[in-house]
């Protein structure tokens, strides 16, 4: 056992491993003034150094304390009190105190739960917003180009619309853009693209850089300019409020956080966390859709279109396709969306 002789002399019992060797020897660490020495039981000194050159590893649970000499000799001891008495406390002592299984740990748990909740609820959005703001415009445009190419290679066919139908949609798009705040309009590279997307039905897609893709089916089913204006204004809303980029960073942020914070988990857990995250991120997606609806209705109205056009679109979607349960869906139910728009335009 350790004994303390005065202020400067300490003896700590333990075992020593010579530099780079697997053989251990019962030994004593002697600290006398500024000198440190590892002394074996036969009285011989295995290694020595200046006391300040000793590397004292931080305490970690109940594992043996490790002290490493400059030549690589390892001294190991269970006598933590003696080591603490000889070397005093460090920043790691505070960490170790927090880590101990003690009623105080409840505070740490509560702080973690609160911090994790705040991080998920507010922190992620803040981080994503900062990342969106820091993303250079050419990079966002590059996403549009790349995505459009991928769509063209995989699911899209060239549009079969005639020139007249295209020109009419282009005119609606231009009129909507004209009603945007000039500063907002200049911040994005707005473009309208026509594609035949057989799997997507009457639909429109917004890419983060400002590209809006309109499906042939939407243009042929809804020649009504009010409907097209409502849909296009909704997509412009996604672009102006940067939902796509925001969501991209959000899901990236969650993946990195899970990897960094949870570290090496056990089998199955990581998959469950990531799947659960998909369901949770749908909440964010539904919120974005509602925001884009509000923005779109307002924009269509300012551009002189009947905002009820979007309601006719949703009514058609609901009648034709019905709705999946909303917690499983990236979009709010069409009926709810029509209701919200009716409330917005006071109809």
């Amino acid at each position: 056992m350790a004994a303390t002789y005065g202020q400067t002399v300490h003896r700590v019992r333990g075992r020593a491993f010579p530099a780079g060797q697997s053989r251990s020897h019962p030994a004593e660490l002697r600290l006398d003034g500024s000198a440190a020495a590892v002394v074996l039981d036969d009285g011989s000194t295995l290694a020595g150094c200046d006391r300040t050159a000793l590397k004292v590893e931080p305490r970690l649970g109940a594992t043996p304390r490790r002290l490493v000499l400059p030549d690589g000799t390892l001294f190991e001891t269970e006598d933590h009190d003696a080591v603490d008495a000889a070397f005093g406390r460090s920043g790691w002592s505070v960490v170790h105190a927090a880590e101990r299984f003690h009623p105080r740990l409840v505070l740490v748990v509560a702080a973690v739960v609160a911090a994790a909740w705040a991080l998920w609820r507010f922190g992620l959005d803040l981080i994503a917003a900062a990342a969106v703001a820091m993303t250079p415009a050419p990079a966002v445009d590059a996403i549009d180009i790349g995505t459009l190419q991928t769509i063209d290679l995989s699911i899209a066919e060239p549009s079969t619309l005639d020139a007249e139908a295209r020109a009419s949609s282009e005119a609606i798009f231009a009129r909507l853009l004209g009603s945007l705040d000039p500063e907002v309009r200049a911040a994005h590279d707005f473009r309208l693209e026509f594609r035949d997307l057989p799997g997507l039905g009457p639909n429109a897609v917004a890419l983060p850089g400002g590209t809006v893709i309109l499906t042939d089916e939407l243009v042929t089913l809804f020649p009504d300019p009010d409907v097209q204006a409502g849909v296009l204004a909704h997509e412009i809303g996604h672009i102006v409020e940067q939902h796509g980029l925001h969501q991209l960073y959000r899901s990236l942020g969650i993946a990195v956080l899970v990897a960094l914070l949870a570290g090496d988990t056990v089998p199955l857990i990581e998959d469950i966390v990531l799947e659960g995250n998909v369901l949770l991120s749908l909440t964010f997606s539904r919120r974005s859709e509602a925001e884009a609806d509000t923005f779109g209705v307002d924009l269509a109205q300012r551009a002189g279109y009947d905002p009820a056009g979007l309601i006719r679109f949703f009514d058609y979607i609901e009648d034709t396709f019905g709705d999946a349960p909303s917690w499983l869906s990236s979009h709010p139910a069409s009926g709810e969306r029509s209701e919200a728009i009716r409330r917005q335009i006071g109809q």
């Binding site: 530099a19 880590e99 740990l105 740490v108 748990v109 991080l119 790349g146 199955l268 469950i272």
Partner: protein, 354 residues
């Protein structure tokens, strides 16, 4: 010494970590990581590795992990900046393709760096591990062979996997003492077939009820929209298949392979290893662990980790072929944290199967 010169008498691996103790360390790691916006997570990683290494004993001597938090942090920053720059630049179509080819050449080099870093930062008793593999071997066994098995419809996958394990194990050493691994291909095919059998069995149990509904609605794409309940049933079936079929199949495969690798590995040509983990026991542990963790919103994760580490240790043995006191280290090789951070973020599991 207790363990000196008793050739042939097996020495058990021991795991001495305690759930309560680890829970406190894990919680503090989380708290400090969050309040330092992720910076402490590098030190948290070191403390985590140290806790599990230092609590694992063979012949009364424990393992240790020697990387510092700063090393890990620097590596992570380099990788983070690299990934951001790459993903922005690679959105440009032609450049993206060039970068992809460049990465393909870079990956074997990074893998070797990661293996070397992890080995050099790990020790048992006072002897560091080492890894001497070359990038060419990593390219062949991690990229080319697995890709080629595609053309055999994965029937040759066990051969590719054995080549990879050989490359990893045969290039590891403890101090100057080399590890060696070889095993007949039978063990690898057994693991492969057992995992496949499980997948097929669970596919029949979870997916078959839906096949009838799907077939009767073929050519009627609106069927789903008329009956949303059908879509839900389909999703539940698919999730059941993933969580009960695919993921446990991975557990089964790893259990068989772990036994094969341990039982075919030698150290210094004299010492042998033995592992007898049981696939069904591991599935039971994985499923009950997952349930416990999910139902307690993550609070039981430390318990689950300790439980798994204990099981692995209890089913691992070293069979000494001579004294365990004679391992001697070599001069530490220069390594950087870059490879390690890459492996860490990408989640590539290339550690020793301990």
């Amino acid at each position: 010494m207790d363990y000196e010169n008793r050739p042939g008498r097996p020495v058990d691996f021991e795991f001495r970590g305690q759930t309560g103790e680890w829970f406190g360390i894990w919680m503090t790691n989380l708290l400090l990581s969050i309040v330092t916006i992720g910076i402490y997570s590098a030190w948290a990683k070191v403390r985590t590795k140290k806790y599990f290494y230092q609590n694992t004993y063979v012949a009364g001597r424990n393992f240790d992990y020697h990387a510092t938090g700063l090393q890990i942090l620097i590596g992570r920053i380099i990788v983070f900046v690299g990934i951001v720059v790459l993903s922005l630049v690679s959105a440009i179509p032609v450049v993206g393709l060039l970068i992809l080819i460049g990465l393909l050449l870079l990956v074997p080099w990074l893998l070797v760096r990661a293996l070397r870093f992890n080995a050099a930062m790990s020790s048992w008793a006072n002897v560091r591990f080492g890894f001497d593999g070359k990038p060419m071997g990593a390219f062949l066994t991690f990229l080319l062979y697995p890709f080629l098995t595609l053309f055999t419809l994965y029937a040759a996958f066990p051969f590719a996997d054995r080549a990879r394990r050989r490359y990893v194990m045969n290039n590891h050493r403890l101090g100057a003492a080399p590890f060696g691994f070889d095993a007949p291909i039978g063990g690898f095919y057994m693991a492969f077939l057992a995992a496949m059998g499980w997948v097929v069995l669970l596919a029949i149990l979870t997916l078959a009820p839906m096949v009838g509904t799907l077939l009767s609605n073929m050519g009627d794409p609106a069927a789903f929209e008329r009956d949303p309940q059908m879509a839900i049933r389909l999703m539940v079936g698919i999730y059941a298949f993933i969580f009960l079929g695919l993921l446990p199949a991975g557990v089964i495969y790893n259990a068989f392979i772990r036994n094969t690798v341990f039982n075919g590995t030698t150290l210094d040509g004299r010492h042998r290893f033995h592992s007898d983990v049981r696939p069904m026991a591991l599935i039971w542990i994985a499923v009950t662990n997952a349930l416990a963790v999910v139902l307690t919103l993550g609070l039981m994760l430390p318990w689950a980790q300790i439980r798994l580490a204990r099981y692995y240790a209890a089913h691992s043995r070293l069979i000494p072929g001579g004294s365990l006191d004679e391992f001697v280290g070599t001069l530490p090789a220069r390594t950087s944290a870059l490879g390690d951070a890459y492996a860490d973020i990408e989640g590539i599991d290339i550690g020793l199967p301990v």
